[in-house]
Assembly symmetry: C2
Homo-oligomer: 330 residues x 2
């Protein structure tokens, strides 16, 4: 089966490449560690020319052989590759943003082999505290397209990660989103704060410790907020109530618990209703499973997982941009 | 004037030594960097004996000459020197705790020169999320003694630092306290997270940036909590609304603002009143000045600074322990 599109999800620390056929069917996919902060450095010859540019080298590693086999394949990419530190900056589009808005705003950069890489812009929400995303917009649009029919008014799309995004959608548009730095804060506290010193890491997932952290965040003790409750990961250790091996997942549960609790509060406030929206989670399955536990404990009753969000979103964006003939759309 | 007591405030990263005379008058004081995590390592002869113990070496550097001049001087010490990682563990005393409780529970360790160092125990609050302090208890008791007459029911004593403590007192006792890891979180985020990458540090204090961070934390935008608002230190930079040099103090204001906002909420809840207590701050003057700004913005109307808290507290504790004849008490 002939490929129709190469789709790249090119972030800070990783690069995922998809070879897609008619209808967006995945023919092959690859995962590389050549994110924009970890580009290859060893020069080599590409398309007959010596090349030392990290973006060119990573691009060639990711899909050079696919392009050799089918030289005319269009290429689309999302993620930090379009940031100011990326290959070519693709200026943010403002909310509300849909597939057509973003698909019509791709920023092309010509690679050394003469192929254009079409970069999806990120999305910016110009609220008092502005919010930005790069890469997540493709995933959200991929999930939205697949839902077909759900207008999104009762839906919240969650993308857990270093910087979790919670995205409100309406009629195919990204209309509002919040960011939580939970994942990165967990990482820096574990690696660089006093909380990490007593942690024994590397064990299997300790669900009881995780749930205990969530419960503390959701309890009346949690109302004082994470800047204070975090200290319990140490003090419960000092009193012998929390073992060293339980401390990492307790801390994870505490932080994710505070996040979902704040999210529930913000959602009820914005919707002016006690009713909480349905949730679709996109991302790493182990992390999504942690969020499922915490969301459930917090009263989010309808939580499901979005599949193949990135490749579906990039396929739709490539269609909207005219990179693929509409006759091949499905 | 003859000295009556050597008082040591011996923490994780620093050691402060005071030579005190009748009435607790300070004859001389020294500040060393030999906290328990930074002890000296070079062996030398102390009191005629070769010595390689870091605690002995630091103790001798801090006040060996004072003891040479007056060999019979009693020595009292508070802080992390009494922790499990310290010179000798002084088990926590439970809340409520006053000068007599702590003064009667000193833990002596005999130094190589034959002098006993009397270590003040820390205080533990065995609530569902336990809380602990070491060193701050001496400072709180020093301030309390000096207040004389104020029973403390309308008073909250704040000790800003890596781990801020907010201490409720009643009739000379420490009855309740909360910990916020604000200072350490600011440090690890600035040094190790993405927020630090765009910060330009080292400038003079930017009061406008600090106040702006405080206002965000106290505003309706701040209700979503610090895990989310922290991202604005990056996103406001991306939109050109916050300069690189303003980012450190904005982040500081944001975190301290979230702390005092949570504190006000917790205090109103605990006191079942909209009325906020008077505050006495103890600590580094630049940090106290930041907290004064944030507390004022948050509606704490009566804030003052506690002076000489450590040396006064250690003097009172030494008196209670009988290390000093009562006739010299004032």
């Amino acid at each position: 089966m002939l490929a129709q599109l190469i789709a790249l999800d090119w972030g800070t620390t990783s690069l995922r490449a998809y070879k897609l056929a008619e209808g967006g069917q995945v023919l092959e996919q690859r995962s590389l560690s050549t994110g924009i902060m970890q580009l290859p450095r060893t020069p080599r010859v590409i398309a007959g020319q010596p090349c030392a540019d990290g973006f060119e080298l990573a691009f060639d590693e990711a899909c050079g052989d696919w392009l050799d086999a089918q030289p005319g394949l269009p290429v689309i990419a999302c993620g930090m590759v379009g940031s100011a530190q990326g290959w070519c900056e693709a200026a943010y589009r403002e909310t509300p943003a849909n597939v057509a808005d973003l698909g019509n705003s791709l920023q092309a950069v010509r690679s050394i082999r003469g192929v254009d890489v079409h970069i999806v812009p990120g999305v910016i929400q110009r609220s008092r505290l502005p919010n930005v995303m790069r890469g997540e917009e493709a995933q959200v649009l991929g999930v939205l397209h697949h839902l077909a029919g759900n207008s999104g008014g009762d839906l919240l799309i969650g993308l857990p990660g270093s910087h979790s995004k919670w995205v409100e959608v309406a009629e195919g548009c990204i209309v509002h989103f919040d960011t939580f730095m939970t994942g990165e804060i967990f990482a820096v506290l574990s690696e660089h704060s006093i909380l990490g010193r007593t942690q024994q890491r590397g064990g299997s997932f300790d669900g009881d410790a995780f749930d205990r952290g969530v419960q503390v965040a959701l309890s009346s003790d949690g109302e004082i907020g994470p800047l204070s409750t975090l200290f319990s990961a140490r003090s419960l250790g000092l009193t012998g109530e929390l073992s060293a091996s339980a401390q990492p997942d307790y801390l994870s549960g505490l932080l994710i618990g505070h996040e979902v609790c704040a999210l529930a509060h913000a959602q009820r406030h914005r919707r002016n209703s006690v009713h909480l929206p349905s949730i679709i989670l996109i991302g790493n399955s182990q992390l999504c499973s942690r969020y499922c536990r915490a969301l459930d404990a917090c009263g989010f009753a309808r939580v499901s997982l979005g599949e193949q969000a990135t490749e579906r979103g990039l396929w739709q964006l490539a269609l909207a941009a005219g990179l693929i003939p509409p006759t091949l759309s499905r």
